[in-house]
């Protein structure tokens, strides 16, 4: 085992740890938006680390795994952004302990008035 292969296995283990913590956050968080943020950030970083580590273990596969990691980094935040926007417009409000914590509500109402 060379040095690069050992570095690759270490990166794979770090990525899988982040991915597991992201899934655990999806299990434990209280409402849709916090679940969405832990799922997107942590799971995207974990998947990128895992795929990049496989590319370091097999040096001939490096460029194709790099392409997969770049596509994951582009496509996963796009879908999560569209999902957050859709669930806010559907009427799901964020989980707060105090009243009047929703800073986004007057902005969204004003922009919908301008569209009409």
């Amino acid at each position: 085992m060379g040095v690069v292969e050992i570095i690759g296995w270490v990166i794979i283990v770090i990525g899988v740890a982040f991915l597991f913590l992201g899934a655990l956050g999806l299990f434990r968080m209280p409402d849709v938006y916090s679940r969405m943020q832990t799922a997107t950030k942590s799971v995207t970083f974990g998947t990128m680390g895992t795929i990049f580590g496989v590319g370091l273990v097999h040096p001939e596969w490096f460029w194709k795994t790099l392409i997969i990691a770049v596509f994951i980094a582009i496509s996963n935040p796009i879908s999560s952004h569209a999902l957050a926007r859709g669930s806010y417009k559907m009427g799901i409000r964020p989980f707060t302990k105090e009243e009047n914590m929703d800073d986004l509500e007057p902005v969204v109402d004003k922009s919908e008035d301008e569209e009409e």
Binding site: A17, L19, A23, F27, V32, I72, A82
Partner: protein, 82 residues
Amino acid sequence: MILYILIVLGLATFFVVHRGLKGPTPSDRIVALDNITTITTAGLVLLGLYFDRYIYIDVALIYGVLSFIGVLTLARYLEGGL
């Protein structure tokens, strides 16, 4: 080594499937589906490392490119657009 990593991925998939079966709103279940496809991409690359064939990485490439389109369509439907 790959065996222990796949066991951890299986535990992560168990949490995500539990959220997808239980989730109170439709958005929770769509987030669960998105995470299942992402975890599946990582698992397919690791299984390609186990079988040691270069061809098998292409399946993960197609997953990474195309898996967000279904979630994007469902999100646009929830918004009221499409």
